[in-house]
């Protein structure tokens, strides 16, 4: 029975996404290939002081990304440090230094890991003038980098890969802003709050005291999902009834997370002149997503973990209005994109259900991944796939008409090494370094044994993949975790971006190799299968030992007990 509901839920999402795939993908194609600037964009370029008609080399493009991001971190850090003197601070004090650094790094990198608890830390101003701004622009940076990589494939003998400031501005103003305004208004109409009111103190029906937080939630909620950011206005994130009051807002939020990453495959297909290439990438994404969702629903419905056994259903940490299926779909979406929003507490999932969420991130978040980040992630994996296939048949690998030489392969390999090394090193150090170990055991862990270990693994996986969801029982606001997770989000964001932009530069310089009978097809089912296989093998080999110590051991314990 639960599978029927799960199938219908999956089918509904797929159907709606299929309907917007072409219009949204084509719209993005036009946004990033048009040579016209709109009038307000001209003002923006004038203020920033950039020539929108001038292309940038990959080095200049990367300097733009890094310059903008560094300034964003400093600005957001500063804003939190002076919160006490800002309007609408709701009585909260300045955010302490390490926490402010962690939060600034986290939001600028599109991670939205929350070491802070919003309910007791942040007033309205830091949220809408700091966090929400990064929700827009960090998403735009991701899209810009992905588009630059696609240009690397599509352009021939070019020294330039586009203009970062133009891509950033267009992604924000032509793509994210209009969708956010329309869908944000719909969210308000469905019950998401949007005000600057004081918190409301009431005497409840039964005569108890209750304080109810308010705030400009809808404007932030919509971009948090659309930009695959995920940082909740409230501590409970999208399970809080003011962020996600009912089944329809839940459906909309799932669609918002998926629409851009999915439709970007169409944009890619259009830019490289073969929409079937986009379908192939999408195919791999759908397969990975579908299998993962199926596993979560199965684990949550038929687990023999003690609590599920005892109560007759895995409802701990889930809201009644979403139940297992729509919590599972939201969680799968959130961890498969780089959103990290939650409408249920992942920490309280069954061992194997929670493991699937970790695995979604460990795959490198490519199914379909964050806005932009998912696309460049899967393009790199496609390069690795053609390389492996090329080795087997003894031919120089090519992808989308470009030769994959030693330089390209080096960058692709470094790309997929960054995340696992960050995760495994972070976890290992947390348990090996004596003072870190003490801080983890004394303060951070909310659960003991294998599940406690999983909390740390989840934290580093989430940070290095710029996801931002958590096994949220963990107390991450300690000097050790604030610093290490802050570093992990920065490494996990900017090293891959630097490699991708360098890759774009070296691909753009090449001429396009004409397709011959010996060229491996990359727009058919065989390639989809290979791509899924490579993505899975790479992360399974890397992370199996880690998972064995955490969720797998915990799940087995449940079976035995």
């Amino acid at each position: 029975m639960v599978y029927i509901y799960a199938f219908l839920a999956f089918a509904l999402i797929a159907l709606i996404l299929a309907a917007i795939y072409k219009p949204l993908g084509d719209y993005m194609y036009n946004v990033f290939t048009s040579d016209k600037d709109l009038f307000f964009e001209k003002w923006i370029y004038k203020i920033i002081g950039v020539d929108s008609k001038k292309g940038q080399t990959w080095k200049a493009y990367l300097r733009g990304v890094l310059g903008f991001s560094l300034m964003s971190v400093l600005f957001l850090y500063l804003l939190q440090r002076i919160q006490h003197w800002l309007p609408f601070n709701m009585g909260f004090d300045n955010v302490p230094g390490p926490l402010a650094f962690n939060t600034a790094a986290s939001f600028v990198t599109n991670t939205n890991w929350q070491s802070y608890s919003p309910d007791v830390t942040l007033g309205y101003t830091v949220q809408f003038a700091g966090l929400a701004v990064q929700n827009f622009v960090s998403a735009a940076v991701g899209i810009a980098v992905a588009i630059a990589l696609v240009r690397g494939f599509a352009w021939r003998k070019s020294e330039t890969i586009g203009n970062f400031w133009v891509d950033l501005t267009r992604a924000t103003m032509r793509l994210l802003m209009p969708i956010a305004i329309v869908m944000g208004i719909i969210l308000i109409a469905l019950g998401v709050t949007q005000n600057f009111a004081d918190w409301i103190h009431v005497t409840t029906i039964a005569g108890n005291e209750q304080t109810i937080m308010q705030g400009p939630v809808a404007s932030q909620e919509v971009i948090k999902e659309l930009g695959t950011n995920g940082g909740g206005f409230f501590n409970a994130n999208s399970s809080h009834p003011y962020e996600n009051p009912n089944m329809w807002t839940n459906l909309i939020e799932i669609l918002l997370m998926l629409c851009i990453p999915v439709a970007l495959t169409r944009t890619t297909g259009r830019m490289v002149g073969n929409i079937k290439q986009g379908y192939a990438l999408l195919g791999a994404m759908v397969v990975l997503f579908g299998i993962s969702f199926l596993c979560v629903v199965t684990a949550e419905s038929f687990s023999s973990d003690p609590i599920t056994n005892l109560t007759g259903g895995s409802m701990e940490g889930k809201e009644n209005r979403f139940g297992i299926v729509w919590s599972g779909l939201f969680g799968t979406t959130s961890t498969s994109t780089s959103t990290g929003a939650v409408n249920s507490m992942h920490d309280s999932y069954t061992a194997l259900g929670g493991m699937m969420y970790m695995l979604n991130m460990m795959l490198g978040e490519v199914s379909p991944g964050g806005v932009g980040a998912g696309l460049y992630g899967i393009l790199v994996m496609a390069i690795v796939t053609v390389f492996i296939a090329g080795l087997m048949v003894g031919r120089t690998p090519e992808y989308l008409g470009k030769k994959i030489g030693p330089r390209e392969m080096k960058m692709a390999s470094l790309y997929f090494l960054v995340m696992p090394i960050t995760v495994v090193a972070g976890v290992a150090l947390s348990f090996a370094v004596p003072f870190a170990r003490q801080s983890i055991f004394d303060t951070s862990l909310n659960n003991s044994g294998n599940h406690g270990f999983s909390e740390v693994v989840y934290a580093f996986t989430s940070a290095a993949n710029n996801n931002g969801s958590a096994f949220a029982g963990i107390t991450a606001d300690t000097p050790w975790l604030d610093t290490m997770l802050g570093l992990a989000v920065l490494l996990g964001r900017f090293l891959p971006i630097a490699l991708v932009i360098a890759l774009a530069g070296s691909l753009a310089k090449q001429d396009i190799v004409p397709e011959t009978s010996g060229t491996m097809k990359t727009d058919n089912r065989l390639f989809v299968f290979l791509l899924v296989f490579v993505i899975f093998i790479i992360s399974a080999l890397t992370f199996f030992p880690t998972l064995a110590l955490g969720p797998l051991a915990e799940g087995l314990e449940g079976l035995v007990a």
């Binding site: 839920a9 310059g67 108890n208 409970a236 409408n343 599940h451 999983s454």
Partner: protein, 206 residues
């Protein structure tokens, strides 16, 4: 890579420009909400017969006394992990300024114990067998503010509430039905009963 001050300066100006744009966006959205849909934008607050604001239809409440004992004339909510951080011991929970789940894993011994105890307590309170206590009755929600219970949990409470209020079970069942939301299109979301509006409606019968 050479230090390039120009890109930092451009980056700084871009941060300021986009900050201003997003502030304007936030105020625009607030304006639309406040002018077009003030009830929704202001938190879907609900009032009792005397016109006093008693909460929000979206935010759960607990129907217990200050010691945490269930008030028998009300339908009971799920357990909640949202407790007032200013109190040493919060028996009421559903503190909507500290939303939270328990974040306990399925092997957690404290959780297993509290769930076991609660199941027995509920079975005794409602006069049903332990097997008939539904999963949501003994588990905490994700937000700690879940305003809903499952129709199954509502069903086992009807008898007690009717008896306490000298109503027929049919009267109470009708109110439960009125406060039930069904799955959209037959499969979107879950069937749920809003405890907050249900209990308010019960109070207003008098």
């Amino acid at each position: 890579m050479s230090l390039n001050l120009r890109s930092y300066w451009a980056g700084f100006k871009a941060v300021i420009v986009f900050t201003i744009i997003v502030i304007v966006y936030t105020f625009f959205m607030t304006g639309v909400g406040q002018l077009g849909m003030p009830d929704k934008a202001n938190g879907s607050m609900i009032t009792n017969a005397q016109g006093e604001v008693v909460g929000s239809s979206l935010i759960g409440q607990s129907f217990v006394d200050s010691k945490g004992e269930a008030l028998p004339q009300y339908f009971q909510s799920r357990p909640s992990a949202a407790s007032n951080p200013d109190l040493d011991e919060d028996n009421v929970n559903y503190w909507a300024a500290a939303s939270s789940g328990t974040n306990k894993g399925h092997q957690d011994e404290d959780l297993i114990k509290s769930v076991t105890d609660l199941r027995e307590a509920i079975a005794e309170r409602e006069g049903v067998s332990v097997k008939d206590v539904p999963a949501d009755a003994t588990t905490s929600s994700s937000s700690g503010l879940d305003p809903h219970i499952s129709p199954a949990y509502a069903a086992i409470q009807v008898k007690r509430v009717a008896k306490e209020r000298n109503l027929t079970e049919e009267q109470v069942e009708n109110l439960v039905k009125k406060n039930t939301t069904h799955r959209g299109l037959g499969f979107v979301g879950e069937d749920v009963v809003n405890v907050v509006t249900l209990n308010l409606a019960l109070d207003e019968l008098k």
